[in-house]
Structure formats: structure tokens, C-alpha cells
Amino acid sequence: MAGSDERAAAFGMEEVRAVADLARLALTDAEAATFARDLGRVLEAAQALAALDVEGVDPAYRVGAGAEDPALARGPGAAQARLRADEPGACLDRDAVLAMAPDRDEAFFRVPTVVERT
């Protein structure tokens, strides 16, 4: 379908590179081209969502007992706040933790220079 490929190509290289920057992915040119095409096609298929009637519908950010339905929230096994008591628990042994690190010294993780953030 040449027509839809053209529209899909509207998800251009610049957009893909901008998204890749946000996601900390360093794409090759070939990858950027492939992904631009793929994302364009997925998003085009997702246009059907735009046509769906969602008037007055709340987004289901999560599902499960108590998640969105207040009635369920009061039932047995209700999720409610699921808050944890302020009691200290076991920590990991530092050597075990740092042993997983690609670059470390005796007590810290090490990273190359950091640009100051806001």
C-alpha cells in the first residue's frame, strides 16, 4: 500500500531521532529509517482509537481489585492504600551490590563526567 507508506513516512527521521534522544538510544541511520516506518504504521493503525467514543470514560490506568471501582475498594481484599508500616528492613550487603556494577571502587559506583543537571 504505497499510499499508507507515504503517510507512514510522515513520521520522519527527525521525529524518530528526537524520540530516540529522549529514550537514550543511539540509532544508526538504517535503524532510524526502519523505526520511522514502523512507528508510522503502528500509529496509523492506532487511528481507530481516535474514532472510538470515549465520552465520559475514565482512563483505566490500572486494573485489579480496588483499582478504579470505589465499590470494589470497599470489598473483601480491598486494595485501599496498601501502605507500608515505617519499620526498617534488611539492606543488601554493599560488596554484593557493587559486585554487579560495571565500574566501581570500594564504596561507590563510578561513572564518567556528568553534565550538571537542573
Binding site: 537514550r24 514502523d38 482509537l49 472510538l52 482512563p59 478504579e68 481484599g77 543488601l92 556494577a101 561513572v111
Partner: protein, 503 residues
């Protein structure tokens, strides 16, 4: 069907208890089958026969000392996105090659607390993203029924391990169908519990509001037994439900004993959209035939329409990838995993992720990042979540006066390796029948329905939240009505000992 074929883990545990089979036998049989078949199938990323045998011998000693736990000494396989301290946990990715977690997933701890022995870690699509297990960084898994074909995904390794008779049961994970679809492709039983039924602590997150630990087993009662071991509240997981854990094994065994009688007076809702365009007509016909058999057994079939099903796939891919893009941000090469050094932190992040992630993972991270990004959040992510509410509402409505929904599990049978490599969207379409239950958080069971062109077809039963017992009962009743061949586990000697013990 011979007794050798009918052995299941429940029967095995009885035989173990009676002392007629030893755990060491099971371990040796598993190692032998892995040795003979896994070179081709590649179900396992890590299998330690020596360790398994040593553990099995320990289990036998424990049993001899009268201290055996319920499933002492039964080997189990675990998908490699569940953390284990005894094995590396790679998630099928280079970015976690050789990563050894310092803690075990709750589901794994519960297996071990019940006496089960983790035989090894199974292959998966990288970070559970895929429907064929071709996206593993460590090579694909092949379908034991036909090794030129995929086993499905992303829990392809676990499904194949069971289908090849290497283990009786395995844990997988299901986000959009990753337990059910491989079960259907491989001819085994796959169960995705209600969202929140099983703890996700230690399940490396793909899409947090969709992921669930699931079971791959040869029979329905085994699914019930395994679910009963891992289900239940876990304070480590704030999304894990406190609902009481039913006697899932008992419900399945009741169904098995009832057979046809279990369908008398039941209502099964048949969504029109699950049998129409987009589904292979031969697959649809096979599952329809199963439905008719259930009708003959006394079930009432009600055709329903669930229009929101047409957008469920798009909604799923936006929601799941959005959550995934955030969940995978922790893989930055700083504290663990692969690091590709760079001149700056930014450079290190980009290089490590570029080198460590495969193409499908990158694709989904990009899609998800875009769906959440400024200016697009409302149009894509929020809208997808609203569509999700519609799907959930529609499924609730369809189940208002039905015991379960019945659909094919997958729109096709196992496809050849490489068939969809040119077109990722064609691969996504494989999930159309499984994502609705995932979006809604409802439990769903896939059981073998028959064969098309010699390849397994699965039928899916979807229930209301926390209705696993009913699904297992109906699924086991189906198993009694239309038993499927069980993979040979190489336990011929033990067979006679357990004859009749599985019922």
C-alpha cells in the same frame, strides 16, 4: 493413552510421597530429555543437570526423613525474566548477560518453599516483547511439535520445555498473551491469572499494569496445582491482591471427574469478532467445533458482540510500550548489566542501550516514549487507556450472564521461523485474541482444542476477575471430554507405579 503418557505432576507428587518414584529419577529423566532434544529445541538458556540431581537427592533424603513438603522434589522450569539467585537472569537480552540477581522472585521462593526444584531458566523474547521467541538475543526456541516453526512467545522456552517432556510444568509471564499463545502453539495448557493474583515482585517488568506470572503445564489440574503454589498476597507487591486463594487443584480435579457434566447448565459467550476476519478460518472452525461439543454436553452458547475488540490491539500496544519505555529506563549501564563505556554519562547511556537492546525492544521503547511525550500523551496514551476501560466494561457486560467467554487463543497456528521477520506489525496481530483479557485484567486459560494441518490449536476461556477456579473446572472437564496427547517425559519405569494415581 498409556499410563506413561498420563503422568502429571500431581500423580508424580503422589508417587513420590508413596516412594514408588524418586526425585532423583525425575531429575535424571529431565536431564536426559534436555540432553537429547534441547540442542534442537533450545528451550533452556540455563540448565544445570548436576545441580538438579544433587537437589533431587536432597529432596529424596528429606522425604525419607518424613519432612517432605507438598511437591518435594518435582522439577520446574522458570522463564528467564523471573529473578533467581541460583541462575543468571538475562531476560533474553545482552544487556543482562551474566546478570545474577541478589534476590529471588516471590513466585520462585514460593515454588522452592513447596519443595519444587528449579531445573533451569527458559528462553524468551527479549524482555518478554514478542510472540515467537525469535527476539531472544541468545537464539530462537523451536516448537517441539515441528522444529521448523516457532513455539510462540514470549514464554516460548517454558512452553517448549513442557511440550518436549523436559519438565512437567513451568512458569512463564503473560502481558498480552505470552503464556497462552505459546501454550496454544505447542499443544499444552497455559494460564494467565487475574491481574494481581500472583506477585510480580521479581518479575522483570515489561508492562506493569498488564504483566502476570502464568503457568505452562501439560494438564489442567497441574495448572491448578502450580497456581495454588504461587498465588496469594505478597507485601512486596502493592498491586498484588489480598483475595483468598481458592483450591485451584481441587476445582480442576472436580472438573476432570465430572467431564461433560460440568458443562450442564453453563453459559458460554462467543464473541463474534473472535471468529471473523483476522482469524484463520480453519482455526475458527476447529474451535467452533469444540464449542458445539460443549453445547452437546449441556452448555448454552450465546453469541455476543464486543465492538471494542477492534481497537484492543492498538490500545494494548500503546499502553504496554508506554509502560515498557519507562520500565526499561533503569537499564543504563551504570549499576548493573552491560556497559559500553563513553566519554560522558550521556554517551555511556546511549552506547550501552544501543548495544544491549535488540531491535524489537528498541522499536517498542521508541513507540512507548512517543506515546507518552509532550503533545501526544492525550491523543495516544490517555486515549488508549480509555479504550481499555471500554474493553473491560464490554467484557464485564458479556460475562454478566455467562460463565466464561470462549475464543480461539490465537488467530493462527505456529508459523514458520522467520515468517514475520520482515513485518513487525504482522507479528503484533497474532495477539488480537489474547490482549482483551490482558487489558481488562481478567483470568484466561488456554487448553488444546485440536489440530489444524497437524499443528496444535488452542481454545481460550476468559472468566471474571478471580474466577480461576471456574475456568480450571471447565478446562479440566474439557480435558476429560477431549484428552490430548501428553509429551513423553521418559518416565516409562515410573509409569506403572503411578498408574491411576493422577486422578
Amino acid at each position: 493413552m498409556s499410563a506413561a503418557e498420563r503422568i502429571d505432576a500431581v500423580g508424580l507428587s503422589r508417587a513420590l510421597a508413596a516412594g514408588t518414584v524418586r526425585s532423583a529419577d525425575l531429575a535424571r529423566a529431565a536431564a536426559q530429555r534436555v540432553g537429547t532434544r534441547d540442542g534442537e529445541v533450545h528451550a533452556f538458556l540455563a540448565f544445570d543437570g548436576g545441580r538438579l540431581e544433587a537437589l533431587a537427592e536432597g529432596a529424596d533424603r528429606t522425604r525419607a526423613a518424613g519432612q517432605a513438603r507438598p511437591y518435594e522434589g518435582v522439577p520446574v522450569a522458570v522463564k528467564d525474566n523471573l529473578t533467581t539467585t541460583a541462575f543468571a537472569t538475562t531476560c533474553g537480552s545482552r544487556i543482562l548477560e551474566d546478570y545474577r540477581p541478589p534476590y529471588d522472585a516471590t513466585a520462585v521462593r514460593r515454588l522452592e518453599a513447596a519443595g519444587l526444584l528449579v531445573a533451569g531458566k527458559t528462553n524468551l523474547d527479549e524482555f518478554a516483547m514478542g510472540s515467537s521467541t525469535e527476539h531472544s538475543a541468545y537464539g530462537p526456541t523451536r516448537n517441539p511439535v515441528d522444529p521448523t516453526r516457532v513455539p510462540g512467545g514470549s514464554s516460548g522456552g517454558s512452553a517448549a520445555a513442557v511440550a518436549a517432556g523436559m519438565v512437567a510444568w513451568a512458569l512463564g509471564s503473560d502481558t498480552g498473551g505470552s503464556v497462552r499463545q505459546p501454550a496454544a502453539y505447542c499443544g499444552v495448557v497455559g494460564l494467565k491469572p487475574t491481574y494481581g493474583r500472583v506477585s510480580r515482585y521479581g518479575l522483570v517488568a515489561f508492562a506493569s499494569s498488564l504483566d502476570q506470572v502464568g503457568t505452562l503445564t501439560r494438564t489442567v489440574p497441574e495448572a491448578g496445582a502450580l497456581l495454588g503454589i504461587v498465588a496469594g498476597h505478597d507485601p512486596h507487591d502493592a498491586t498484588c491482591a489480598a483475595e483468598p486463594v481458592d483450591d485451584y487443584l481441587g476445582a480442576a480435579q472436580a472438573g476432570l471427574a465430572e467431564g461433560e457434566a460440568a458443562f450442564a447448565g453453563r453459559t458460554l459467550a462467543i464473541p463474534r469478532e473472535a471468529f471473523g476476519p483476522g482469524v484463520d478460518p480453519a482455526v475458527a472452525a476447529e474451535v467452533e467445533a469444540c464449542a458445539r461439543r460443549m453445547e452437546r454436553a449441556g452448555a448454552r452458547l450465546r453469541e455476543v458482540s464486543i465492538p471494542s475488540l477492534s481497537v484492543a490491539l492498538s490500545a494494548y500496544y500503546l499502553v504496554a510500550t508506554a509502560e515498557a519505555s519507562s520500565n526499561l529506563a533503569r537499564f543504563d549501564g551504570i549499576r548493573y548489566g552491560l556497559r559500553e563505556p563513553g566519554a560522558s554519562v550521556l554517551d555511556t547511556h546511549r552506547r550501552s542501550r544501543e548495544a544491549g537492546f535488540g531491535e524489537e525492544v528498541k522499536r517498542r521503547i521508541l513507540l512507548g516514549t512517543y506515546a507518552l511525550s509532550a503533545g501526544y500523551y492525550d491523543a495516544y496514551y490517555v486515549r488508549a487507556q480509555k479504550a481499555r476501560t471500554r474493553v473491560r466494561d464490554d467484557l464485564f457486560a458479556a460475562l454478566a450472564d455467562a460463565d466464561a467467554l470462549l475464543t480461539p487463543t490465537a488467530p493462527d497456528v505456529a508459523f514458520p521461523l522467520g515468517a514475520h521477520s520482515a513485518d513487525p506489525l504482522a507479528m503484533y496481530a497474532v495477539d488480537i485474541l489474547t490482549v482483551p483479557a490482558s487489558l481488562a485484567g481478567f483470568p484466561a486459560l488456554s487448553v488444546p482444542a485440536g489440530r489444524v494441518t497437524g499443528l496444535p490449536v488452542g481454545l481460550q476461556l476468559i472468566g471474571r476477575p478471580f474466577a480461576e477456579a471456574l475456568l480450571l473446572r471447565l478446562g479440566a472437564a474439557w480435558e476429560a471430554m477431549a484428552p490430548w496427547p501428553l509429551p513423553d517425559m521418559g518416565l516409562a519405569d515410573a509409569a506403572t507405579a503411578v498408574e491411576g494415581g493422577s486422578r
